[in-house]
Point group: C2
Chain length 213, copies 2
Amino acid sequence: MRIVCLDLEGVLIPEIWIAFSEASGIPELRRTTRDEPDYDKLMRFRLDLLRKRGLRLRDIQAVINTMEPLDGAWEFLRSLRERTQVIILSDTFEQFAKPLMAKLDYPTLFCNTLVVDPDGTVSDYRLRQKEGKMHAVMALKSINLEIFAAGDSFNDLAMIRQADGGCLFRAPTTIQNSCQDLACVQTYDELLAQIDSFLSAKAVGPANGGRIG
Amino acid sequence: MRIVCLDLEGVLIPEIWIAFSEASGIPELRRTTRDEPDYDKLMRFRLDLLRKRGLRLRDIQAVINTMEPLDGAWEFLRSLRERTQVIILSDTFEQFAKPLMAKLDYPTLFCNTLVVDPDGTVSDYRLRQKEGKMHAVMALKSINLEIFAAGDSFNDLAMIRQADGGCLFRAPTTIQNSCQDLACVQTYDELLAQIDSFLSAKAVGPANGGRIG
């Protein structure tokens, strides 16, 4: 059985922190790992800022609910789910992604989790595991699923390399240049064509006999 | 991150072979592993019968397309996907399930695959792996997902036992009697209550520090 694993931000929805920074009018939230390479420090900075502004999870979700998936993402994902199974692999947090996942008709998402106090304050976060995307692909391959993976960022490369097939989608030039062996497509139609080619490739080995595979 | 793995037939949709037997007027297709314990023999009998009747995949899917999910299944699944991530684990074949998955808004499904000739004849089948449901739960646990599993049949027990939580749904009395340590619920509301209890249970261990978990 062949399935597709997709990155979320930059592929189906905008970068959540950047869009949230704009929608909420808090420019400091644009800070990324390019500015603060220590992810834990960056997250504590973000959570402190949310707390200082008195923004609870409900407020944050209300802002995220004003965002929309990328143009054409709904139609692309619908076409893809008519063809095959899809799992979204993301480093975002399930509570942040939720309003946007609703707008995409709830594809399955593996990601991280915020710790929310009873009063709605976001007090902490939990990473599911390090290199979560790559390990997810490894786990899915271990149960005889064949994986096509696509994403736009450095944190997608290990996932794509681990998969049976894959490509970059709207990746920055720096990434394209450092990964010239990977195709990089710009439109959903091109991405669907890459996936169709993967899905329709002839199975390796004899197909008969109800054999495992 | 906590997710839910669900059996398909008997939980969200009717038993496909039985419903197909009725919808197509081919009573021999009611034969199950109770009548022919050798699954490979049973599948060859079924595929031979389809071939003899001249039924190609398109014809079979047209019949399956007249079937409906179980009463209340769409609403249940929608509520569940608003709460958490869902993966359907089934021993059915992706091509058979497809028309019904469309009616359920395409939840993610891991199952088996039919081998279809270019003329549309179903010539063979591929099992993804033996004990596929149980191994899927093990693989998902290996990437730090916590799993609640539910199903109605003997082939769901290993999956439920392997999961972090779970229950039976509308299981026959024989199964209920042999698994008295497992709750067995009859309605979707009761199943949602079981799942809500699992999802809201306090995480084990300290939650602070962005720690892995």
